[in-house]
Amino acid sequence: MKSQRRGQLGEIWHRLKKNKFAVAGLVVVILVLLVTIFAPLLAPYSYDKQDLTKPFLKSTKEHLLGTDKFGRDTLSRLIWGSRNSMAMGLGCVALSSVLGITIGSIAGYFGGQVDNVIMRIMDTLTCIPMLLMCVVIAAILGPSVRNAIIAIGISTMPNSARLIRANILKVRNLEYVEAARAIDAKNYYIILKHIIPNAISPSIVAITMNIGNSILSGATLSFIGLGAQPPLAEWGCMLAEGRNFMRDHMELVLYPGLAIMITVLAFNVLGDGLRDALDPRLRN
């Protein structure tokens, strides 16, 4: 029987492969990551190299996607911009996941009063809409990419915490944990072998989706001036700058937006596919 020969990871990979969208998403994600890493090699120009004699060019041989107001090459800015945008996406998720999983695990594992207090604080944090949280942090610390990451990370943390806590609570009481205790397995063994592998898979899906959302949030913040500041190349920032010339040079707005959308879509599609692959009940 086919399914018996593969291990559990192999089974998941097989299911993922069947979903063509998810595979496409994975490919795009890898491509974007490659662009981010190899930006210096790929971009024909530096992101802030100006050439005031050639503003607002449409596509030419030297400037495949044209130039902006200051004669900066759009393609290069997009490539360099991927670094900032991905930094925001990955940074926010890293921050919120690490914080969230730690806090959520503590709450879930110890339960009782500790759990109560922690979750109340999380609930309070949730009541402050993310954008506002970012506004506040930007107000205090000043607008920058790093501060945007902190803001977004903190405001999305309660979700990670809640998710991992709910799953830990669910898994803690399942019968096979009791079965493990019945054969006198040590606590840390139980946690490592049973609780974490089963509690983590919704979080993996959530993390993938979160990367997409964080990129969006980061771009939004930059757009309204609270994140990346000019002359940094960041997709949201480029959109803000291009907005002023939208009437006659729509492409300045179109390209960065497309970049954002394609990247975020790829992450979301991948996340969706991962979720279906990790929990096949939802499909069949």
Partner: protein
């Protein structure tokens, strides 16, 4: 039932206190002297000192915090550096615009999103279902400010159907509402779909079919009603999030709402205004979540009976005269 309501309302208090603490501390941390900000750069030192004394800025932190809370409870959220008017007054002038935008957008989102979700769930595995998933993902992945700009470019600038800016006529609301609602429609559609899919698989749906019920009643009467419960929660939280998210639409379309107020207050370093708005919105949001929880408790009989200690008064069901042959209970 009443106990639950009271319990939930009381629950808000520590939450609000925490937010006020946060806001207050942030106010403390912001650079600048409030008195000087109010009087301007050309005021004399004595005038500033006098104002500081009058405002009680020299008192210890704890006292000022208590006074701040007292002030909040009376509706005093501070004085805007910019307009020199009470922040709450400024907020109340602008809040209705935001509220209107959010309500319109949420209505659109519900009208579009939920039916699409139901349709996708009932036609699972068909190309219609896959299409709607993909489209929903598209809408959710798109930066909504980008979408707004594109809408403006196409429908306002090029076609001239709607104004690019401002809300003098009802036409001015169309594009902003669409741009805000697109993301939420997609989210609602996806949530409705997955909620429905889960309910359709449930045993009681098979039971309903086995009773001879029509497929339509099975889906809409049984499955949908059950799947609406988590959707109510989603609608509530999305509503709250839109309060903050309307910021983008307001900025792009020039709507004088709370979002653009907060943003411009930020850029002009008007800290009391910024933090007053934050407090206001946070309280609004928790009130909304409270309402959602209460609605849920009323609608879901499982939650209802968890909190009522008295058996419900039986509705007028006709009592039969003669009990037929009864079997001993367990």
């Amino acid at each position: 039932m009443i106990r639950y309501v009271i319990k939930r309302i009381l629950w808000i208090i520590p939450m609000v206190l925490f937010v006020t603490l946060l806001v207050f501390l942030l106010l403390e941390l912001t650079p600048g002297d409030p008195a000087r900000q109010l009087l301007g750069n050309f005021a004399t030192e004595e005038a500033v000192a006098e104002l500081r004394e009058k405002m009680g800025l020299n008192q210890p932190v704890l006292v000022r915090y208590v006074k701040y809370i007292a002030g909040v409870l009376q509706g005093d959220l501070g004085i805007s550096y910019f307009t020199k008017a009470p922040v709450l007054k400024d907020i109340m002038v602008r809040f209705p615009y935001t509220l209107l935008l959010v309500v319109i957008s949420m209505t659109i989102a519900i009208i579009i999103g939920i039916p699409i979700g139901v349709y996708a769930a009932t036609h699972q595995y068909s190309w219609k279902d896959n299409m709607s998933i993909v489209m929903a993902l598209f809408c959710v992945s798109m930066p909504n400010f980008w979408f707004a700009l594109i809408l403006v470019q196409i429908f306002a600038t090029k076609l001239g159907w709607f104004p690019t800016l401002g809300i003098e006529t009802w036409k001015g609301w169309v594009l902003p509402a669409i741009s805000v609602s697109i993301g939420y429609s997609a989210t609602l559609a996806r949530q409705t779909r997955s909620s429905m899919l889960e309910e359709i698989r449930q045993d009681f749906v098979v039971t309903a079919r086995a009773k001879g019920q029509t497929e339509r009643k099975v889906i809409y009467g049984h499955a949908l009603k059950n799947s609406l419960l988590p959707i109510i929660v989603i609608v509530g939280s999305v509503f709250g999030v839109s309060l903050g998210g309307a910021v983008i639409a307001e900025t792009i379309f020039g709507i004088p709402g709370l979002g653009s107020y907060t943003l411009s207050a930020l850029t002009s370093r008007d800290y009391p205004a910024v933090l007053g708005s934050v407090l206001f919105i946070a309280v609004m949001f928790s009130v909304i979540m409270l309402l959602v929880d209460l609605v849920l408790a009323f609608v879901d009989p499982r939650i209802k009976s968890q909190y009522s200690y008295v058996r419900k008064r039986k509705k007028r069901v006709p009592v039969i005269e003669k009990p037929t042959e009864a079997y001993k209970e367990a």
